[in-house]
């Protein structure tokens, strides 16, 4: 039992509640397909509610603990809610709820399979967030990885099949590397893998070579999910192939599961001190910087909107990694907060892409002339999030970038600021043309035709519009009222205070 933790069964509920959806799918009569889907949503909403209810306790500094099974001494499957885990769970439960809502009207075939696996992945991801040790984390992580395969190939087109195949290849290889990392950690780390300390390994218990092996196998294993270049290959294929709510979750949450794993490795298993001592943060930072710049460059060349967004995600997740690798207070804070911030922005962007696809059937940016007049609300939300991605105040993107920049200065490395600025510039270079095409070009504009009238009639589907608008509003609200309890800052700053006492 971790020190100071309250024994409580509450952490189990969010893991089990999504299974309501499965029961709904299995037990509800075939005649009421709509009811089944609403029950699925109810499952995800209840999950979010339970997670919210834990907020006051977590803000009070309480931790919760629930043991599922103890295999041998030191190796147990147990749930543990600390601030960092809670933070991730809160983000993902919220995203999951919105994506489920959106899916109700977006998904048009094989509902049962999609919603079943959507719920399963949600449950497993909450399990990841609430894991007490790397062993438990790995179990949930692997189940989540393979559980998201049916989401990716849902459309069953040739493109989706290929993307799914690629995803599996990456996932299997990454899982194997990770498995080895955990075994090595377990063996050289003295038979414990627990997260409750801020630095479990040390040079006294294991040799330098062993620690380096463990660290880099971990980074390689999680790096596939977190899409650190050159391990990002599956991301740009999987996102356009998957249905939009699934892409939103891929970018918003599933990629973050890799980043979250790296957080656990850096904060809890190695600890900031040991990482500095080993000097490995340089390597991670260099890879993150390369990813940030290269991904933006690749994004510039994409015409497919979702593919461009996917490359953007690759770069943005590396912001998180870079923040951690700065080994400075504000850098870590920025990195941790960017996990939530990017989830809000990118999920909104993908959901907008989904609306565009459903309402107009357009996938490529070059075809989207004048789309801002056909789908004004969607494109305004899209623009808000795109501007936020560039780091325009007042938005969440600005907060992340500000903190990361300040972290770079704290670490005495202005070069990171340059990287961030270059990246912002590139972000602008690939996002602004979309906004420009949507609002400032229209059919016949070169012949001097007047711009079309704003037409709100196409956006009549509330189930799809509510998540989009809500996310866009949150991008602004969370960016303005940063310190409201329950918003990312309140939790992330607690984490960082623990990591840098």
């Amino acid at each position: 039992m971790p020190e100071g933790a309250t024994k409580s069964v509450v952490p189990l509920f969010p893991v089990l509640l999504p299974w309501i959806s499965l029961l709904a799918i299995l037990l509800m009569p075939r005649k009421a397909p709509r009811l089944r889907l609403w029950l699925c949503f109810a499952g995800s909403a209840l999950t979010f509610l339970v997670v919210i209810l834990m907020l006051p306790g977590v803000l009070d500094g309480k931790t919760y603990y629930f043991k599922l099974a103890s295999i041998v001494e030191g190796l147990e499957i147990s749930l543990y809610v600390d601030t960092l885990g809670y933070y991730f769970a809160l983000v993902l439960a919220f995203m999951w709820m919105l994506a489920t809502l959106y899916s109700i009207s977006y998904i048009d075939h094989k509902h049962n399979r999609f919603f079943a696996f959507l719920a399963l992945c949600g449950s497993f991801l909450i399990g990841c967030a609430f894991s007490r040790n790397m062993f438990t984390y790995f179990i949930f992580y692997e189940m989540m990885t393979f559980g998201s395969y049916p989401l990716i190939i849902h459309e069953e087109t040739t493109m989706a099949r290929r993307a799914g195949y690629k995803y599996l290849v990456y996932a299997i290889a990454a899982g194997t590397v990770l498995f080895f990392a955990i075994i090595a950690n377990y063996f050289w780390g003295g038979g414990v893998l627990n997260f409750e300390k801020w630095g479990l390994l040390s040079l006294e218990t294991a040799s330098r070579a062993a620690l380096l092996t463990i660290f880099f196998t971990y980074i390689a294993g999680f790096g596939v999910k977190a899409a650190i270049m050159p391990l990002h290959g599956w991301v740009p294929d999987a996102h356009p192939a998957a249905p939009s709510p699934a892409s939103a979750l891929l970018s918003g949450v599933i990629l973050k599961a890799g980043a979250f794993g790296i957080m656990r490795v850096i904060f809890n298993l190695f600890g900031i001190g040991l990482m500095k001592e080993l000097g490995v943060h340089w390597v991670v930072a260099v890879f993150a910087c390369i990813t940030i710049v290269m991904a933006s460059v690749f994004a510039l060349t994409q015409d497919n909107l979702k593919r461009r967004l996917a490359y953007s995600s690759i770069g943005q997740v590396s912001y998180i990694i870079l923040g951690l690798a700065m080994v400075s207070r504000d850098g870590a804070l920025g990195g941790v907060m960017h996990l939530a911030h990017h989830a809000l922005m990118k999920a909104c962007l993908f959901l907008c892409a989904g609306v565009i696809l459903v309402k107009t059937g357009k996938k490529n940016i070059s075809e989207m002339r004048g789309i801002g007049y056909q789908l004004p609300v969607t494109m305004i939300c899209f623009s808000v999030c795109a501007l936020a991605m560039m780091g325009t105040p007042p938005s969440v993107g600005f907060i992340s970038k500000w903190l990361l920049g300040s972290g770079a200065m704290q670490a005495g490395l202005p070069v990171y600021v340059v990287i961030l600025l270059v990246s912002s510039l590139l972000n602008a270079a690939y996002f602004l043309p979309i906004i420009y095409t949507a609002f400032f070009r229209w059919e016949g504009d070169e012949e001097g035709a007047h711009h079309p009238k704003l037409d709100f009639s196409a956006e009549n589907d509330r189930l799809m519009m509510v998540p989009v608008v809500l996310l866009a509003l949150l991008v602004l609200v969370v960016g303005i009222w940063v310190t409201v309890p329950g918003f990312p800052y309140s939790l992330a700053s607690r984490v960082v205070n623990l990591v840098f006492p």
């Binding site: 099974a69 295999i71 290889a173 498995f179 080895f180």
Partner: protein, 496 residues
């Protein structure tokens, strides 16, 4: 252990044997009753085994003297926790395969031979149960012979040309290996003058005949390598396992080769013991190398198969390598991994073969590409297959994950990181050949007319054992903590 309980182990073994002897009479009275009565014998045997639960000390063993004769002269059973665990595994999987046979075997075996099938089946189960708990090395040989001969016959039981040829191939490799076991035992006897394992363990250290010991161990290992189909002596396995009737394939792949692999561990740890590893260590190293080669070879060959029963058979070759790599790590974790792998591989492999049997029974399909779109017509079989494949790959939370964890951990702990990497590569290969089938079954549209659009799965009498096995892979993964503590202790005491 007191009173009637001390007789339980031998009753577990003799009951199915008695059943085998009685079956012709049962058949004479009422032929339809044969499957049920044979199952009853295994059920009773299993219940007796359950009564033993908690009575076997994890770090010791319970001896039983057959006929009351004193150990060095009489035959002795030594039931330690690992042996008891495996005995239960054998009993459980045999029972499910036997129940499955009832409907399946009528199709493949002609009426008159059905009784013979059940007789041989019961003999096979009984011999395996004896095989894992015996404390006498000559008795080990006897059980091994019963096991081998009933397997040859069961491979050939359908009587068609290919089956007979496969059985003959099996016999051609099996018979010399049996003789080699005898030779190995003879050499041991000549060096020590005893056949009791505990007695041998005490005398092996004292005897001066070093070379004889080396030769004897090498011959025994080589012989059991044939029986356990460890690369490069696996040649008989793919044919025999893919041509035998499916429930029989489940027994052969799931249990027969695995307990033979365990016999090597038994001989290395209970007869030669830790003190003589200086003498026989080279053989163990060679065995480990063969095991590593088996993992890779079996996995790669499995990927290239077109017949799904062949694929499962090659996967077995790969997994025998896992077991060997586990116990040759010579630490409790590795040995625990190996024993647990006998369990989870047995369950998962038996389940895969039973699923294959379902496809053959319903559709007569044997090729992997014919499975495209199978989901629409046979969803239950497909689900069971996917769950079992999950365990074969070793993904959490299945039982395969637990054994993979201990196998890799044991090898890392023994400073054999290359072998740990081989095990991981083996898992990747398993993922390749398993996910291909899962993909075909669930996500690939089938050929026109290959599968109906309505659900027409195998009969419940066949689905029930299949599903029991596939759920068992999950059960033994999630509830592995019930057994692992005791298994680790048992492994540590075997290695003490």
């Amino acid at each position: 252990m007191s009173g009637a309980f001390k007789h339980l182990p031998i009753m577990m073994i003799t009951l199915p044997m008695l059943g085998a002897a009685l079956m012709p009479f049962v058949s004479y009275l009422r032929r339809e009753a044969v499957p049920w009565v044979s199952a009853l014998f295994l059920v009773v045997s299993g219940v007796l085994g359950l009564l033993l639960a908690g009575r076997i000390p994890p770090d010791g063993c319970v001896g039983y003297r057959l006929g009351g004769w004193e150990p060095p002269f009489g035959i002795e059973l030594k039931v330690d926790f690992a042996g008891y665990f495996l005995m239960m595994v054998v009993c459980g999987i045999s029972l499910l395969a036997l129940l499955y046979s009832r409907l399946y075997i009528i199709r493949e075996v002609e009426g008159g031979k059905i009784t013979a099938y059940y007789v041989l089946f019961l003999l096979l189960s009984a011999s395996m149960m004896g095989f894992v708990v015996t404390g006498d090395i000559f008795n080990l040989f006897v059980f091994m012979e019963i096991l081998a001969i009933s397997s040859y016959a069961l491979v050939a039981v359908t009587g068609n040309r290919n089956a007979v040829r496969a059985a003959f191939k099996y016999l051609l490799m099996g018979a010399p290996s049996s003789i080699m076991v005898l030779l190995g035992i003879g050499l041991l006897y000549s060096a020590t003058g005893t056949l009791n394992m505990a007695d041998l363990a005490a005398r092996v250290g004292e005897t001066g005949y070093r070379e004889v010991l080396i030769a004897s161990f090498a011959v025994l290992v080589l012989a059991f390598m044939v029986k356990a189909a460890i690369f490069p002596l696996h040649l008989w396995l793919p044919d025999a396992h893919s041509i035998a009737p499916s429930p029989m394939s489940a027994m052969l792949s799931g249990l027969v080769v695995a307990v033979s692999a365990f016999a090597i561990a038994r001989i290395a740890f209970s007869v030669f013991t830790v003190h003589s590893w200086g003498v026989v260590g080279t053989t163990l190293d060679a065995l480990a190398a063969a095991g590593a080669a088996a993992v890779l070879f079996g996995g790669i060959m499995a990927i290239y198969q077109r017949d799904f029963k062949m694929m499962i058979a090659y996967s077995t070759i790969s997994h025998m390598g896992y077991i060997v790599l586990g116990f040759t790590a010579l630490n409790p974790e590795g040995l625990t991994g190996a024993v647990y792998h006998v369990l989870d591989h047995g369950i998962a492999k038996a389940c895969l073969f039973l699923c294959a049997g379902n496809f053959i029974y319903r559709k007569g399909y044997r090729r992997i590409d014919q499975l495209k779109g199978a989901w629409r017509e046979m969803p239950w079989t497909c689900f069971a297959f996917a769950l079992a494949a999950w365990s074969v790959i070793g993904l959490p939370p299945s039982a395969g994950f637990i054994s993979k964890w201990y196998l890799v951990y044991g090898n890392v702990k023994a400073d054999r990181v290359p072998y740990a990497v081989v095990l991981l590569i083996g898992a990747i290969l398993a993922a390749v050949y398993c996910f291909r089938i899962i993909y075909y079954m669930f996500f690939q549209p089938g050929e026109e007319g290959a599968w109906r659009d309505q659900v027409m799965d195998a009969p419940a009498g066949m689905l029930a054992p299949t599903w029991a096995l596939s759920l068992a892979t999950l059960f033994f993964g999630v509830f592995s903590y019930l057994f692992l503590d005791s298994l680790l202790k048992a492994a540590a005491s075997l290695l003490a």
